[in-house]
């Protein structure tokens, strides 16, 4: 498709502004910008451009999207409707701190406060903040809280421990707070190697960051022991909530010994991913860390809501207000719709779906850790790759069958990783069709692996040259 800049024609226009009801003033010449190149296009052609662009995407609403580690579940339509209520949409965030204005936004503050409480209940934490605007931002916030806590104890710690199966955001976040990152290898069970951990655990360690279940989709059976070990040297336990969907309502990170947690609400709580965002990454902490939470913060005091805008111990602002409010609103409603039973049941069905896919496929693909998985399962396609059909090839094959491919080449510790997360909202029939397609791919890999190079054949483009992209670095239209 043409770029919208290429469809532009001088003098065309889509939007009309209201008539100016005061005199037009000229802006001083010396402060004026020069020509501005934006598309000039009619409303019809604008709509056609974007509607037709949208049709080039796969999406949860149109396709099965089992992208591992991303929890691409169905997002109920009522959440979209609820997030479009004008009384929230048009609410200026400064009302939260302006004099006498708290009753102008009390519905919003009550929602945030309730959400924080419920999030604590689900995760086993004591206090929470909605400020972080994504999972990685929650990690950053959490590690800052941990750092501030240690500083408040005059404890100079320099290291953060992560397992080698961790999301890349974990070491990156720790690094942004100035920590040295220590990586612990996984054992043959796919879990953190406790003996190895013990070697590195000392009073230099500020925190151990864990995902549980981990990115192999496996529950860390030693998690309580790990928590105890960390606590014994004064380190705190950080829970990366990316995989909370697998255990919500079944066990609480707080009860497993975690001190700080973030939750990816766009994964766990029914808020769609928007092609990359927005998400939200609220953070929960145990009581002893409350004072370090970012500002501003909504807090219930006695029976009324207050906004804490100043706090000596707080890490300060990580976002301007209360994070991605409309995203939090959706997550809040989603949790309310599900209730305690629905939360637990969703985790159960997510795990059932992943195990079903794993069991149906394990005679066809290599399963590096052959045990009950949680919400996702990770295969290794290294043998297929040797035959000439890589994980990437499998992915492209699946596109032509109408499925978004699983995550490939992550986690890094599995060769030719092929990571399937079906989520709880998919039916058995959908899973069966997907499994059948993979089995077809396996057969094709055995019979005619060269055929894979042609896939996908049904899409608007096929196998773009990524090396060329990185070399040419054309990152805006050449007009």
């Amino acid at each position: 498709m043409k770029l919208i800049f290429e469809e532009s024609k001088s003098g065309r226009k889509s939007f009309n502004l209201p008539k100016l009801d005061v005199n037009l003033k000229n802006f001083p010449d010396e402060l004026c910008r020069s020509e501005l190149n934006l598309p000039e296009i009619s409303e019809l052609d604008l709509i056609r451009h974007f509607i037709n662009l949208s049709r080039l995407n796969f999406s949860v609403d149109t396709q099965f999207y089992p992208l591992g580690s991303c929890t691409m579940k169905y997002n109920p339509k009522i959440l979209e409707k609820a997030s479009n209520i004008p009384e929230f949409l048009n609410l200026h965030p400064f009302l939260s701190i302006l004099p006498d204005s708290i009753n102008r936004c009390k519905g919003a503050l009550e929602l945030i406060s309730d959400f924080q409480d419920i999030l604590c209940e689900i995760t086993g934490m004591d206090c929470a903040t909605t400020s972080p605007m994504a999972g990685a931002h929650g990690e950053l916030t959490g590690i800052m809280i941990i750092s501030s806590y240690h500083k408040s104890k005059n404890s100079k710690r320099t290291k953060v421990i992560v397992p080698d199966s961790s999301h890349g955001t974990n070491p990156a976040s720790a690094s942004m707070v100035g920590y040295e990152v220590v990586t612990i290898p996984s054992n043959s069970e796919g879990e953190m190697d406790v003996d190895e951990l013990k070697k590195h655990l000392d009073t230099d360690v500020a925190a151990v960051m864990m995902t549980c279940p981990n990115t192999l989709g496996l529950f860390e059976k030693n998690i309580k022991e790990i928590s105890d070990l960390a606590h014994s040297v004064g380190a705190l336990m950080y829970y990366d909530g990316a995989n909370l969907n697998a255990i919500m309502g079944k066990v609480r990170p707080g009860d497993l010994g975690f001190d700080v947690i973030h939750v990816n609400v766009h994964k766990t709580f029914g808020t769609p991913h928007g092609g990359g965002g927005p998400g939200a990454g609220p953070v929960g902490v145990k009581k002893f860390l409350e004072d370090f939470l970012p500002i501003p913060r909504v807090k219930r005091e006695d029976d009324s809501l207050v906004v804490v805008s100043n706090s000596d111990k707080s890490i300060g602002h990580v976002s301007s207000f209360f994070g991605n409010f409309a995203v939090i609103l959706k997550a809040y409603l989603y949790i309310k719709l599900l209730g305690t039973d629905g939360i637990k049941y969703s985790a159960e069905m997510a795990v059932l779906n992943a195990n079903y896919v794993m069991n149906r496929l394990k005679n066809y693909l290599k399963l590096p850790y052959d045990r009950t998985c949680m919400h996702e399962c990770v295969f290794s396609l290294s043998e297929m790759a040797k035959k000439g059909a890589s994980a990437l090839d499998f992915a492209k094959f699946l596109i032509d069958r109408g499925f978004h491919p699983p995550t490939i080449y992550f986690p890094l510790i599995v060769k030719e990783a092929f990571m399937i997360e079906p989520t709880e909202t998919e039916s058995m029939e959908t899973l069966d069709k997907f499994v059948d397609a993979i089995i077809d791919a396996v057969k094709l890999a055995e019979q005619n692996p060269e055929a894979f190079k042609e896939f996908p054949k049904t899409t608007v483009i096929s196998r773009p040259d990524e090396t060329k992209a990185a070399k040419d670095l054309i990152v805006k239209a050449r007009l």
């Binding site: 770029l3 919208i4 226009k13 939007f15 502004l17 005061v22 005199n23 003033k25 802006f27 402060l31 004026c32 598309p39 000039e40 604008l46 049709r55 080039l56 949860v60 609820a82 209520i85 009384e87 048009n90 609410l91 204005s101 009753n103 519905g107 994504a134 931002h137 890349g168 690094s175 529950f219 309502g249 066990v251 497993l256 991913h273 092609g275 990359g276 965002g277 998400g279 890490i315 300060g316 602002h317 976002s319 207000f321 209360f322 994070g323 409309a326 995203v327 309310k336 305690t340 039973d341 969703s346 059932l352 079903y356 196998r463 773009p464 990524e466 990185a470 670095l473 054309i474 990152v475």
Partner: protein, 440 residues
């Protein structure tokens, strides 16, 4: 309610394939703990759920109109913006890792990148950051990476909330941040200049300033460049319909809060931040970048590029930890900018400027003082002869939120920051001024 489709028979059949008797057998490795939910009750229907949210929404006592800005602006949003952003194929997709089934997202982000570069007269940008404050913090971190220096000079006419975010990001790291006091409310160019020594990685300013003043920073930027100091700025994108661009002033890294480009105020989010810089610094940028390439049939195609900078590959040596961004908000901005187009954004900026000038005139007529010494865009500081808090509260009782009293940010207790956008009618301006006249 829940959104799981399985029937009891499905579950039995699937358990049998999994070689378990019941679903709970799959959770055997978890410590058994019955969770005692006290706050979260039973699930409810969507009708009840929607009413729950609606009732909360109605607890917000609405204003008749307001003059609130200070970085977060109440602009008209063309209907096409909501329409495009509500397409399932856009908003229920993930980050476009698989280009063949994500050209919709990828091409629109490429177009977004183009629009932001054109808007700022700079060369490269990413597919969005979280918001204006964190974008500024990322720009500062980027300048430290580029220059390998340790000191940051930040003008105090930068939005105080953004300054707080920058401080949060920096306080765990071994860098020195110096904030430069303003002269009254205008930047102290001389003071800033005097601090620009060879240890400085960047100096940070905002244009228009937090107080609404528009300056040409070109001279100071040229001076800084002589010392290999980077210029980092925050900019209000709507002002760029008319105001001299960061690129033309020589800014090295421009950032901004994207909210005003087609995103509702929504009590603080979701918004998005943009960060745009010179091509030479592209490898130091945080965030996703979409690049153009060719596919196996030599057809133009878009892909995520330079992923080697990112956390999922580079881990603790990444340019940032950012993973999820605010892609859908960036799409809204693109549709917004295309809807207004070349002439529309300029016209919009001029309407904002003209209405703001009209309001200034009216306030002066009733004896008030505008504190800005410089040209302002659509925001300015008005000084009263008594505490702003009183004025604010009186008008609030008439359902008008009359700007942001600056004592909230350590300013004079008599000053209020007033914003006027295209939504504000002459009628309402006249009305608020006559109320003011009566109470002064």
């Amino acid at each position: 309610m829940n959104f799981c489709p399985h029937t009891p028979e499905d579950i039995r059949e699937m358990c049998s394939v999994c070689n378990v008797n019941e679903v709970d057998d799959l959770f055997k490795e978890l410590p058994v703990e019955e969770i005692d939910f006290k706050k979260l009750g039973k699930g409810i229907s969507e009708y009840e759920g929607y009413n729950l949210i609606l009732n909360l929404a109605r607890k917000n006592n609405l204003l008749s109109y307001h003059f609130l800005g200070a970085g977060f602006y109440d602009h008209i949003i063309p209907s096409v913006v909501d329409f495009v952003a509500s397409r399932s194929e856009f908003y229920t997709a993930y980050t476009p890792y698989q280009p063949e089934c994500s050209q919709g997202t990828l091409q629109s982000l490429f177009e977004y990148q183009t629009a932001i570069c054109n808007l700022t007269d700079l060369e490269v940008t990413n597919a969005s950051l979280y918001d204006g404050g964190t974008a500024l913090a990322e720009a500062v971190l980027m300048s430290l990476r580029i220059t390998k220096r340790e000191k940051i000079i930040m003008d105090k006419s930068v939005n105080p909330i953004y300054r707080n975010i920058v401080k949060t990001y920096l306080k765990f790291l071994p860098y020195e941040l110096i904030e430069v006091e303003t002269e009254e409310i205008e930047p102290d160019f001389g003071k800033i200049k005097s601090l620009l020594d060879s240890n400085v990685a960047c100096f940070v300013f905002q244009n228009p300033t937090f107080y609404g003043s528009v300056h040409d920073w070109t001279d100071l930027i040229n001076f800084a460049h002589e010392k290999n100091i980077l210029a980092v700025s925050s900019v209000y994108p709507i002002s760029l319909g008319i105001v001299k661009t960061p690129g033309k002033m020589g800014v090295d890294i421009a950032t901004g809060e994207g909210q005003s480009l087609g995103n509702p105020l929504s009590f603080g989010g979701p918004y998005f931040g943009f960060l745009v810089t010179k091509k030479v610094y592209i490898r130091n940028m945080p965030g996703r970048i979409v690049g153009e390439t060719l596919d196996r049939n030599n057809k133009r195609a878009y892909v995520l590029t330079l992923q080697a900078r990112e956390q999922h590959i580079k881990r603790h040596r990444a340019t940032s930890n950012i993973c999820s961004n605010e892609g859908l908000c960036a799409l809204r901005a693109l549709v917004y900018l295309c809807s207004l187009g070349k002439s529309g954004l300029k016209e919009l900026a001029l309407i904002n400027f003209s209405k703001s000038e009209y309001m200034k005139k009216k306030l002066i007529e009733i004896g008030l003082v505008i504190k800005n010494n410089a040209t302002t865009f659509n925001e300015f500081v008005v000084k009263f002869n008594r505490p702003a808090k009183e004025i604010f509260s009186t008008l609030l009782s008439k359902n008008i939120a009359f700007g942001i009293p600056l004592y909230l940010f350590g300013g004079s207790e008599n000053d209020i920051l007033i914003n006027v956008t295209e939504k504000m009618s002459k009628y309402n301006i006249d009305n608020v001024c006559s109320i003011l006249e009566a109470i002064l």
